[in-house]
């Protein structure tokens, strides 16, 4: 019995520091959400600041800027989820048809690379290629007689630019995962389908797609947790005051309110609102993922 206790002790010791750090930097801030219900003044602290109930939320929800940001967030995130499903699936199917492995590998290497480059650097590159003066995109458009477009300074263009550049950066990742799923499909199934007279198109439809369906369902349900994540890094680095109207999302709004304007209470309220909704979607998506594919995170 004594020995057994000692055994658990070493487990508790191992977990001691990580858990303590988690408490300090994750759980204590969770307690900090009471700021959302206060007229928080840093000088007065949590205990000294006045409680104002739901006042911060009332201010937030009646603020047209917040409603606009909420709408932008959902729209941008929606399109990112949709393109994040369709583009990698399609591309991995096409890539899978290529038999020459050198081309296949080179293509994979190339499309996967932007995933590991930070949004800061990507934004620097995007600003250049979309420049209305000598950016490559406008030079190409110029060949067809199109007037230069100021993509990053136009509210009609800003959301599409966000979605497309996000595809550029992220689709390689999804493609690699689907490729891994594709190589897991039993080759005998193709043989059997071919014997039954199925052509390549039919084989894709009836063997390949069902074969990667669990992966598709899994990645899509898991991405539901991102409905309120429109991508702070990307938006913050590409947005300018001109595109605030079409590009401002909840995260950039929280940053502006909280850190720039020191309206801690309202910013925390916005953060809490986002956290609650996200938590709901994450739990739901994990439940769905488990139901459809038997996938468990832990």
């Amino acid at each position: 019995m004594k020995r057994k206790k000692g055994k658990y002790l070493s487990f508790h010791l191992m977990l001691l520091i990580p858990t303590a750090l988690l408490v300090v930097y994750c759980y204590v801030p969770m307690a900090g959400i009471i700021i959302a219900f206060q007229n928080y003044k840093p000088a007065l602290g949590f205990t000294g600041s006045k409680f104002t109930g739901l006042e911060n939320f009332r201010v937030l929800f009646t603020n047209p800027g917040f409603m606009q940001a909420l709408k932008n967030t959902v729209v941008i995130a929606f399109w990112k989820i949709i393109t994040g499903l369709i583009v990698p699936v399609t591309f991995s199917l096409l890539l899978n048809e290529i038999r020459r492995s050198s081309i296949k590998r080179t293509a994979q290497t190339i499309i996967y690379m932007p995933y590991f480059i930070s949004w800061v650097l990507m934004a620097g590159i995007i600003v250049d290629i979309l420049s209305p003066e000598n950016g490559i995109v406008n030079r190409l458009l110029g060949l067809f007689g199109v007037e230069p477009v100021f993509f990053l300074g136009d509210n009609n263009w800003f959301k599409p630019v966000l979605v497309v550049t996000n595809v550029w950066k992220e689709f390689g990742w999804g493609t690699i995962i689907y490729m891994a799923a594709l190589t897991g499909i039993d080759l005998n199934l193709y043989e059997a389908a071919a014997i039954d007279g199925a052509g390549r198109w039919k084989q894709t439809l009836h063997v390949t797609l069902p074969g990667i369906a669990p992966t598709i369902v899994l990645l899509t349900t898991l991405s539901l947790g991102n409905v309120l994540n429109a991508g702070f890094d990307q938006v913050y680095n590409l947005m300018s005051p001109i595109t605030l109207e079409s590009g401002d999302i909840i995260d950039t709004l929280i940053y502006r309110l909280g850190i720039k304007n020191a309206q801690f209470g309202i910013a925390t309220a916005a953060g809490l609102f986002k956290s609650m909704i996200s938590a709901f979607f994450i739990v739901t998506s994990y439940k769905l993922a488990y139901k459809f594919t038997g996938y468990r995170v832990f």
Partner: protein, 292 residues
Amino acid sequence: MYYKESMSRRVFLVFNYCFVVLVSAVCIYPILNTLAVSFSSREAVAAGRVNIWPVEFQLDAYKFVIEEPKFYTSFGIAVIRVILGLGVNMLMTVLAAYPLSKPRSRFPKRDVYMWIYVFTMLFSGGMIPVYLIVKATHLLDTIWALVMPGAVPVYNIILLQNYFKSLPDEIYDSARVDGAGEWRILYRIFLPLSKPVLATLVVFVTVAHWNSWFDGMLYMNRPEHYPLQTYLQTIVVKLDLNTINDISQVKNISSQNSKAAQIIIAMLPILCVYPFLQKYFTKGIIMGSVKG
């Protein structure tokens, strides 16, 4: 293969090749263009004559960037930050993953701990409360502000504990019978067996730390404490007018090619670990998701 190549199939294959090559070219072009711009003269860049090959080759942009104190200082901070972050993150990951990989029969409190860890993935206090804690723990304007708030990477812990679980029980049992303690089993048996997963996590963490910029902006009040990506964020995205004026006095350099040079230098470490990333990444995902 098991079918006859029809005409339509051959047409499809040709189009497919072209399409894949085209998409890859479009993806890599902006990066190659940036590389070419960084080596091209100011006039060639301004006239839009640079595509994927340097025009009027020069190295002045790189010389200028490397001699810029702000650049190399922030580069140094980023390197230190990666080293510290890597050390802390990996240590915490290993320490937490091992006990959490034990079944309830061997460690009754396992599930309680697991929930403590997983809950942080579902819900967070948000930017402002975390900022206030970092401030309260006196980390603002120190390098530890970039390390401590994310010291315990829960997702990586879950990956590693899933992998630990997949190791055969017999190894653990025989080590216990031989009288090895938990610490020794972890250090002498589990860690050496997990080298591929650990390598994956090392690469993940390195890339994540190298690429992160927002915490630098949030927690560092003074620009001289910025890590590289945060510094570049101020340069690359919002063109700093002062810098441009400084640059224009130097022959052959413009804001554009010096900016490109900085982007390329900041990308280099990622490109260096990229082969490893590719090798381990998918493997890491697959290994980590072994159901527990």
